[in-house]
């Protein structure tokens, strides 16, 4: 059984539903009066696949203009980015595009990109064309999902897609630059230990797997 631990960043304009989405997934709840995020919020969650376990460390960033300068702090070491927009607001799709440009420019490592069009429940007010999104997603090597956090449609799939993406990254060519943490519990001494994994142990294990560890921003 292999465990992959990846960092995920949620990017997108204010009010597109980033916080709602992660809350739906992690806490299984939806709050109509969710506050705009101030700064960023941190979540963790784990997905169990047939032969692997994927642990996510998710940064839910704030979409408001004034926090824009903080974003690099969260995407710099991310292994996956959820690029979220609101299908009823075209300019939120435009701003996703500028996020992608920014990511391409500033992030060296390979990143799993997932384009998410939210608020599918408001499809009759749709302003962003599905086909256009699909084409755009293809052009940047992303997968595309349309979801409704409100109706809980498609949220699971987005996280599933991300975990498959990360898994693929982890088993990909060895020269891919990635900060993914991979550890294989079958060969591990610490398998049954109660001691929490320290950063040091993880780094060593990554070396054992031949994957370069970039220094962490936050630790």
């Amino acid at each position: 059984m292999i465990t992959v631990e990846g960092k995920v960043v949620l990017l997108g304009s204010q009010g597109v539903g980033k916080t709602s989405m992660i809350n739906r997934y992690v806490n299984k709840s939806f709050n109509n009066n969710v506050n705009p995020t101030i700064g960023a919020a941190f979540f963790t969650c784990t997905i169990n696949l047939d032969n692997a376990k994927v642990k996510f460390q998710v940064w839910d960033t704030a979409g408001q203009e004034r926090f824009k300068s903080m974003a690099p702090m969260y995407y710099r070491n991310a292994n996956a980015a959820f690029l979220v927009f609101d299908i009823t607001e075209y300019n939120t799709f435009t701003s996703v595009k500028s996020w992608v440009t920014e990511l391409k420019r500033n992030v060296e490592g390979t990143m799993v990109l997932i384009l998410v069009g939210n608020k599918l429940d408001l499809a009759d007010m749709r302003k962003v064309d599905s086909e256009e999104c699909r084409k755009y997603a293809e052009s940047i090597g992303a997968s595309y999902y349309e979801i409704s956090v409100l109706h809980d449609e498609g949220v699971e799939q987005v996280f599933l897609a991300a975990s498959f993406g990360l898994l693929k990254l982890s088993t990909g060519e060895k020269d891919i630059v990635t900060t993914l943490k991979i550890y294989d519990f079958n060969n591990s001494e610490i398998k049954n230990s109660d001691v929490p994994l320290s950063e040091e142990v993880l780094v060593n294990m990554n070396i054992a797997h031949g994957i370069k560890e970039k220094p962490y921003l936050c630790c």
């Binding site: 101030i38 408001q64 936050c218």
Partner: protein, 538 residues
């Protein structure tokens, strides 16, 4: 500085009627020494304090003593945050530098967006709406160029004309090298505060005094600074006088809304003090020590603050630095208005205007546990230490759980505050007690007749009037004894404390004095539970 009065010629804004004035006069015959407290035992007093002790009128005095020009110059130029960061320890890239970058905007983009904001809400003209007109206290914020920024009860872009008039008034008086402070018309007070690039206006039919309204507007200004910081605010207007600040404040209006409601129901603001969650001293010490021990090795951690039900459980600080109650109130406002802190760990930039109005601190915000809804804030000047603080928080919670501290916190949070009746003081109903040396206050639970929101509001209004009269800039008083229709009130300020007491309407002076003596003895006996008497540091 003259007060510009268009409707009435008085400069005094005290709302006391003649009846209350006579009552005050008779009160002078009441001698302070009659109250049986031995000197030197002000309950809750301590030589150590983690809070900056102040009078809430400090703002008003500042406002009065500074001229337009030097106020704008004076907005602090020092930076506490970079001082901390520049401590010899290896300093990471500073916050200030990153801030510079964030303030550059493309002005075309800005215009486009502000137009969108202007167009989207099309509700009716508030000036024709009875409900709107009947609101007791309006608050408006606009730029010096007259652009609407905030309105308490309606979308501000419906009020372009009204705000235009306000701006015209301010600049007309400014042109004469003077400053408009307040206008009194009938039962309505119009109070103006000009701060940096902003104009703040309160239109109030409440009994609150001008200094109290100024204080509230200053809080609103500080709330805006807390979101943007002084340097960013100044910068955007330097770049464009016509800037539409709503673009940077979107999502923060709710903080101002909440703050204004908070100030209407919380005496903490006009008292300039903080209330503590009652806890056994041994428990509070254990909690404090847990935080100190867990965090002592973390560099650049400035404050650790633990709040529950808006009350302070403990506050640990970096040596050298105290926190101003006004900054703590903004933090309380943030926590109280943000449900989402309950669902995840947050990494929140916040500017504390009294601490350093030009920079941001980063705050790790989280609730202790699902089963213990106390909120822990770890404030640092280092923006890269989220995971260090997150780990520290986990350790703190584990330890607190093992030592039964979480239980103790829960128990106190779930217990209704003790009432005066339960303390056993007959004829007394309610009280506010502020210990000056620690900037902390205590108040009991409300008991009949103060059980409805309306009655509670009215009572707080009475306290505010008393507060104003004790601290009246022109004629401060030491003692007020006031027999009113529904209650008798006493206010008393000494070098150690401020006391506001509500009695049954027909209480005699002797009985009032006796029961205050008993009350002070009770507070003294309980002081270790009700107040934080030390000032722990990392």
């Amino acid at each position: 500085m003259a007060t510009k009065d268009s409707a009435s010629a008085t400069t005094s804004s005290a709302s006391g009627s003649t009846a209350t004035a006579t009552a005050t006069a008779t009160a002078t015959s009441l001698r302070v020494e009659d109250v049986t407290v031995e000197s030197g035992i002000e309950p809750g007093a301590s030589a150590e304090t983690m809070l900056v002790t102040t009078d809430s009128l400090e703002e008003f005095e500042q406002e009065l003593s500074s001229s337009i020009d030097d106020r704008q110059m004076k907005e602090s130029i020092t930076s506490t945050i970079s001082d901390i960061q520049q401590d010899p320890v290896d300093s990471p890239k500073t916050l200030a530098m990153n801030l510079e970058k964030s303030a550059s905007f493309d002005s075309n983009e800005i215009d486009e967006l502000s137009q969108q904001f202007g167009q989207n809400s099309l509700d009716a003209d508030p000036l024709k709406c009875k409900v709107w007109l009947a609101q007791k206290k309006h608050v408006f914020v606009l730029s010096q160029a007259g652009k609407p920024i905030y309105s308490r009860y309606s979308s501000e872009d419906k009020l372009v004309t009204v705000m235009g008039v306000m701006q015209a008034l301010v600049s007309f008086v400014q042109a004469g090298n003077d400053m408009i402070r307040s206008v009194h018309a009938g039962d309505t007070n119009f109070v103006f505060v000009v701060r940096g690039p902003l104009i703040l206006v309160s239109v109030s039919k409440t009994l609150e005094s001008v200094p109290q309204l100024v204080l509230q507007l200053t809080y609103v200004y500080n709330q805006i600074l807390s979101v943007l910081s002084q340097s960013q605010l100044t910068k955007v207007y330097e770049q464009r006088r016509n800037f539409d600040l709503r673009r940077l404040l979107t999502g923060s209006e709710r903080l101002i809304d909440h703050l204004l409601n908070f100030m209407d129901r919380e005496p903490a603001f006009f008292l300039s003090a903080v209330k503590c969650l009652p806890l056994l001293p041994s428990m509070r010490d254990a909690i404090t020590q847990t935080i100190v021990q867990t965090c002592s090795k973390i560099k650049n951690l400035v404050f650790a603050i633990l709040l529950a039900n808006n009350q302070l459980i403990t506050l640990v600080r970096m040596k050298k630095f105290c926190i101003h109650p006004a900054d703590l109130h903004l933090i309380q406002n943030l926590v109280d208005s943000s449900e989402s802190f309950k669902t995840a760990e947050s990494w929140t930039p916040i500017c504390l205007p009294k601490f350093d109005s030009n920079g941001f601190m980063y705050s790790h915000v989280s609730y202790l546990a699902e089963d213990c809804q106390a909120c822990l804030l770890l404030l640092t000047v280092d923006r890269d230490v989220f995971f260090t603080l997150s780990e520290a928080k986990q350790k703190i919670v584990e330890k607190l759980r093992r030592t039964n501290c979480l239980e103790a916190i829960n128990e106190s949070m779930n217990k209704a505050s003790i009432t005066i009746a339960e303390i056993g003081l007959s004829e007394m109903r309610h009280v506010l007690y502020k210990c000056k040396s620690t900037a902390q206050f205590w108040s009991p639970g409300f008991q009949p007749p103060y059980t409805t929101d309306e009655e509670i509001q009215r009572l707080l209004g009475c306290y505010q009037c008393l507060h104003h009269r004790l601290h009246s800039p022109s004629r401060p008083l030491k003692l007020i004894f006031q027999q009113l229709d529904k209650e008798t009130m006493l206010a008393w300020v000494t070098s150690g404390f401020e006391l506001y007491v509500t009695f049954e309407p027909l209480i005699t002076k002797t009985d009032a004095i006796n029961s205050i003596g008993k009350l002070l003895k009770w507070i003294k006996k309980e002081e270790e539970r009700l107040f934080i008497l030390n000032s722990p540091t990392f």
